[in-house]
Symmetry: C2
């Protein structure tokens, strides 16, 4: 999508524009690299309930087992570790996977960004918001729904870079279907590195593409490839390893996981489960199976390279009886999320789930209800890596331009929520009550004047004008305002600086890799 | 708004219609009179933080005090109780108001409905959902926004009656501005009693209108005016007493509160606070002031009639710097809500707050984000009486037909959320995992077949069809589907049975009261 030049011409009121630029700069300066929560976790289950689910996960691992398919090396690794291997089926003594994870996996880790001020700490009390991932389509108010292209991909990288409430550039924000499958990862990784300075995700669709991702990150991080804090290779990429639920890992994902683990890059081991199809049609059954699958995957990564960062992932929904499509934003996935966040804390690994998921095809009320009903549990439960926080539509099939900035607004609110209640003397504000007293108003009092500007979260998209003013402006709905906002942002985008030599090295690497094989859509 | 006759004619496929009726009847039969939560409360503050806010409320009550205006009886009551009275300003020894409340106010109470199966228990682990309250306007997709009429009022009573996820008929659902101000309460109370059999709210706009509300309820409840469980007059009406924040009660509200208290009817003492105007512009300041105001009001009710049911109410927002209008669905009101719910539990009284609040003028994504960001905290915090759960638009200025059924859908989801995780053997579903195993699917297994129908909440409004099917149906947004649903519901409305003699007595009472004074719009 081209940047809308019509909107970028000289502003008619330069002074207002200057003021807005200054305000934006101030907001950018105050943005934080990630959230560290100050409010408690919400947990739906008692310790006894959580213990039951852990016991069931162990039962699944012991009795049913996990298939590791088409990867003799993986089977050999499990045999050497003492698991019960029958063909490709691996079974585990109770507690074996958990012990492997707890022995060496870090409780939290730093994913370095090329701008050190934007490096993120994943785990503990921290929450990192990243854009949605994996859509073949994009949607905008102007063009409706169509296949995604690399220019869309770049646009979303730019929007994520400019969004203070997103801490991460994400990964396959949308599939650039105008590029060949076997080479598009190069352009995606390059876009993240070039058009943003936030941390990003690598390719997982083939082991050699994972290797390309590591190589390109290494070009950018140059000589500083060892993390002085850990003495290990710097973790500069985080990667999404999906499980083929139920209870199956395939060679593609195992191959990518091994590449990243050996390079000390982070992997998110994620069962993506539609309950009733890929797991039992209950919350407790889905939690136990997710836990079993994720523990086996995380343990495998620790066997490949003890200490490599792993994240316990989960994305759960059910299936519609009518269409087979997954609903989102319903209460059951929230219950799964709360339960798994609590279990991940007890295992002692970072947790990835939630975001702004929705089934709606368009950024309407359905999308908003569903997204809010996912993002709020994401935050209250204590998700550490919030993939899919911005842009997700249609069960992940489409990336929405308007939805993206609407979700970023909601992510901004979550910063305020997770900061909790200010109990300083200024926050308690007793003197203001003493000053004003019964029947008066607080508008003019000193405390209000001193605090008003930053006292409450202000949405750039919510309309809080009078009815008459809103009507005079054409009665725009939120989607219309969002359409204006993302275009304005793209028009104002300024790229982060990059050393031209580094840029050239990246372009050289890409050119060589592209020349090394013919285009292919496999 | 007339019932759409076009939609009510003979169905072309009677068998499908019969099946739907049967399905509706089954759902109605399974609806519960109120929710009893099975998941923990969410609290944002530690005990220490909560103690600080209680201390500050005591400081406000002791140092600043509360005005009780234009009501010499109220002043006399406070003098007799030992408060420090200076003119209309009343100050209280630390802990005095809390002690008065804790000595006699019930921790929970039953509000009787004329259908005993629909009586609600307010307090404890229970949550009761009621429609929105007080809008002068209505909005629908067909007519846009216009002033509300008594036929709108009846429509919303009918919709609430038919909505299994609403437990209560509410009060001034919208203002019937086509009726004179001094008589419209009669038609409102009659509509609740006649067109629904759920519990309802009385008039508070003048003491004599409160007396009319009690008299009409007594006609319906007939000879059974004493609650055998308590030996006190049956509580059949709950009523909204708003505080004139900051720290002021006026004669109108005090008058209504006294009428209801003396009749042992329930009062919700609610500071409706826009922070920065009516309280300090901080969460902690707003919580302390709300608590002080509500404690004084609840203590007053206990002095009027010890043991009369009271509810601690709160509705808090801020004001927009641009328009002065209140935003809703932002994080600060959620923090206020969590803190006050926790304080109400520690005082030992039921708590009213939240609902599906929004600032948006229309049921768009803004409305949905804001409503979800209010309703979810409402439920997680443990609100006992959720006024404004359905229909609220535009900061309470408009009652939306489409918004109403959209909110009811969300309220339905909250039933599932608050029921928590099923940890029975069937819920754990280990045998299903054993039966299916790695790489297979769960669609055909016995456990899925046995549980699928009721396993997951199914929204009547969310579109989970394939993209192609949704497009073939005209790409409707949620609002369009909601428009279809509320019309269908009204077309299918069947009134609950009422003894004709009771109906006649109500109509006689109304006729006499209407004849007793000329119409007035004061």
């Amino acid at each position: 999508m081209d940047e809308p030049q019509a909107q970028t011409g000289h502003a008619r009121r330069p002074s207002g524009r200057d003021a807005k630029r200054a305000s934006r700069a101030a907001r950018a300066a105050s943005s934080i690299p990630f959230i560290t929560r100050k409010i408690p976790y919400y947990e739906v289950l008692t310790e006894e309930g959580l213990a039951t689910l852990e016991h069931n996960a162990d039962t699944i691992l012991e009795e049913v087992g996990i298939d590791f398919r088409d990867d003799p090396e993986a089977i050999a690794i499990w045999k050497a570790a003492g698991a019960d291997v029958q063909g490709e089926r691996v079974r585990f003594a109770r507690g074996m996977c958990r012990a492997l994870v707890q022995r060496t996996a870090p409780r939290e880790f730093t994913q370095h960004a090329r701008n050190p001020a934007r490096s993120v700490v994943i785990g503990g009390k921290n929450t990192v918001f990243a854009p949605a991932y994996g859509s073949p389509f994009v949607r905008s108010l102007d063009e409706g729904r169509r296949y995604a292209r690399i220019d869309d991909f770049r646009n979303f990288v730019k929007l994520a870079y400019m969004s203070g409430s997103l801490h991460h550039s994400g990964g396959t924000i949308c599939e650039p279907v105008d590029l060949p499958v076997n080479k598009r990862h190069l352009d995606m990784v390059y876009s993240h590195l070039k058009f943003s300075d936030k941390a990003f995700m690598g390719s997982v669709t083939a082991p050699e593409r994972a290797e390309d991702s590591v190589a390109m990150a290494n070009i950018v991080f140059g000589g500083e490839l060892i993390d002085p804090l850990t003495g290990r290779p710097k973790t500069t990429i985080i990667n999404l390893i999906n499980v083929n639920s139920p209870m199956t890992y395939d060679a593609t994902m195992l191959g990518a996981a091994k590449v990243y683990a050996r390079a000390n890059q982070a992997t998110i081991i994620t069962p993506f489960i539609l309950a009733g199809a890929m797991s039992p049609v209950t919350v407790a059954g889905t939690v136990a199976q997710t836990l079993a699958e994720a523990l086996a995957g995380m343990a495998f990564v620790q066997l490949v390279n003890p200490g490599a960062p792993v994240v316990l992932g989960s994305i759960a929904s059910s299936i519609s009886m009518q269409s087979g499509a997954p609903p989102f934003g319903t209460p059951e996935p929230a219950l799964v999320l709360y339960a798994l966040a609590a279990r991940a804390r007890r295992v002692g690994v970072p947790f990835r789930s939630g975001g702004s998921l929705c089934a709606s095809k368009i950024p309407d009320a359905q999308a908003a209800f569903e997204s809010a009903n996912t993002l709020l549990p994401t935050c209250l439960a204590g998700v550490n890596f919030g993939l899919h926080t911005a842009g997700w539509l249609e069960g992940g099939l489409a990336m929405g331009y308007e939805k993206f900035v609407m979700d970023v607004d909601q992510a901004g609110m979550m910063h305020t929520l997770l900061a909790g209640v200010d109990l300083t003397d200024n926050g308690q504000a007793l003197d203001a009550v003493r000053e004003v007293g019964p029947g008066k108003h607080f508008l003019g009092c000193g405390h209000t004047q001193a605090n008003f500007e930053n006292a409450f979260y202000r949405s750039p998209l919510a309309d809080n004008n009078s009815y008459e003013q809103w009507e005079a402006e054409g009665s725009p709905d939120m989607t219309k305002r969002a359409n204006t906002l993302w275009k304005k942002m793209l028009a104002e985008y300024v790229p982060p600086p990059m050393d031209p030599a580094v840029d050239e090295a990246l372009l050289d690497f890409m050119a060589k890799r592209k020349a090394a094989a013919p285009d292919s859509n496999v």
